[in-house]
Symmetry: C2
Subunit: 309 residues, 2 copies
């Protein structure tokens, strides 16, 4: 792949879409197998957890876990617990974010949000169960006898840090407190870096760490993931203004309605689109040393610019 | 200690109370040091987490972790992360249980419950942060170079299992669904075994597993902890009827008000007290092989029968 290009040709895009679908299917099947193994016996709460997990999500976090593992040269099967855990954490955060006391959203990807479908009590508990389950699944990776224990513990620690009170949760706190406030670019970037970026970074790093990638390459992947998170958030904000409700599965304009600070709101649409492109270029730049084995990650960064949901 | 006795003498009780206070102080200080180390920089959410953590609790779960570690002959310092993590999980569960959508309790141990003091959104997030933080703290035990990694991973897995959708959370689901229902002894026992018992069992086992206790002794401690959980719950139900509001820090009669099934409600007060005594005897019976090093656990079981909060 030519690294200096600014966008994909139609042919490249068609090829990438097929590739992305394959990766997504692999992630989807891995998650399903993993959950069925951990929860063979279905209790009432598992129906709610499944509703939250099988929700038409893009599975970007598991895909990043597997990319990290592949670049590190590890058998993908051993990365399944980490991939599943990161999606569980992502899905729990959506369930709790949608609650009336939080963002109060009735819909999520075109379906009733969890508390609308099952009640607030069950939504709170299902979120708690997904979060707890993520660590149950991670610890279960011990079943791979040749998976290095110290690496696995390091990954558990990094994921908890990324999702916790110094990571995703503090981003959500800042986000809630920022409604109706005048915030500047640095504040906005911090909110998104914490709320969205940290989990993307933890995902790509998790696979790479489990696979024993060297420190320098790991640092480059970390910079990729940070810029990926930024580009994801800017394009998310853009889609909330100009997206198609059907593609998005939720009403557009929700950020403006809830008086949330966004990139287009703060900088105007044109500048926001320029910033998204810059972040994508930064993504690609950080993959210089990886050769063709990082091609999918390169395409994935471009994909953010053209995504419709 | 004479193992066939049915209660403590006044002298033994005074001695035990001093001992318990020492163990509680040790647990309290360990938790404080551990949290200050993990969260040196205070964010808004940490104030809410601290409010939930420093709440006058009995610290029974950390105390059990340290007892397990001591019986296994391990340096107590290495059990601090597990002790802290189990108290964090216990405290998160209280914060979420008190929410309006759940048990809707305005007070907890004489203080405003978390959502009353900080708002529902912050209470949900602080609970999430404590739960996530528990695993951050556990993974942080990797700093002890000679702590066996496979044991640590096993403990992380057991704690997540005990707290998750097949453990504590499914107990809370059954509890919520049992309000206003006719339930029998087996149902009641299952609810409490899941909601309360599992975390006690995980606590005592965590310390013992980290310390490398043999399988047979571990099984005996497990039976102790199961009976301990049962005795704890029966005496909890009894206190909700005949307890002193000041000692309890919450209104008594709350179970009856919310139409919850309880041991005194199902069996009458006299039979419930008899059942609590039986569970305590079962606790002691399972410590036959441990000699004097399990004396504190023996006293602790008797203590449940006389506790006032």
């Amino acid at each position: 792949m030519n690294e200096s290009k600014k966008s994909l040709t139609a042919e490249e895009e068609a090829l990438f879409n097929k590739w992305l679908q394959q990766k997504k299917d692999f992630a989807e099947n891995s998650i399903k197998e993993c959950l069925e193994q951990v929860y063979p016996e279905k209790k009432a709460i598992h129906d709610v957890m499944n509703y939250a997990m099988y929700n038409g999500g893009k599975r970007l976090r598991p895909i990043l876990v597997f990319e990290g593992a592949e670049i590190a040269g590890m058998e993908l099967q051993k990365a399944v617990p980490a991939a599943c855990a990161l999606e569980m954490i992502h899905c729990y955060s959506l369930v709790h974010d949608d609650l009336p006391a939080m963002d109060d959203d009735d819909y999520r990807r075109g379906k009733l949000s969890c508390h609308k479908a099952f009640g607030e009590d069950m939504a709170i508990l299902a979120g708690d169960a997904l979060l707890t389950g993520a660590f149950e699944v991670l610890a279960g990776a011990i079943c791979y006898n040749d998976l290095e224990r110290t690496r696995l513990l390091r990954v558990i620690g990094e994921i908890a840090l990324a999702a916790g009170s110094n990571g995703m949760i503090s981003g959500q706190v800042l986000d809630l407190k920022s409604e109706d406030q005048n915030i500047n670019q640095a504040d906005l970037r911090e909110i998104h870096e914490l709320k969205t970026g940290r989990l993307f970074v933890a995902s790509l790093r998790a696979g790479a760490i489990l696979g024993g990638l060297d420190a320098e390459s790991l640092e480059e992947l970390t910079l990729y993931a940070e810029n990926f998170g930024l580009a994801f958030q800017i394009t998310d904000d853009i889609l909330d203004v100009i997206g198609n409700e059907q593609d998005m599965g939720k009403p557009i304009g929700s950020d403006e309605k809830s008086h949330k600070a966004t990139y287009p709101g703060l900088f105007g649409m044109e500048k926001a689109q320029e910033m998204a492109r810059e972040s994508v270029i930064n993504c690609i730049d950080n993959l210089r040393g990886f050769g063709t084995k990082a091609d999918f990650l390169r395409y994935l960064a471009y994909y953010l610019l053209g995504r419709s949901n």
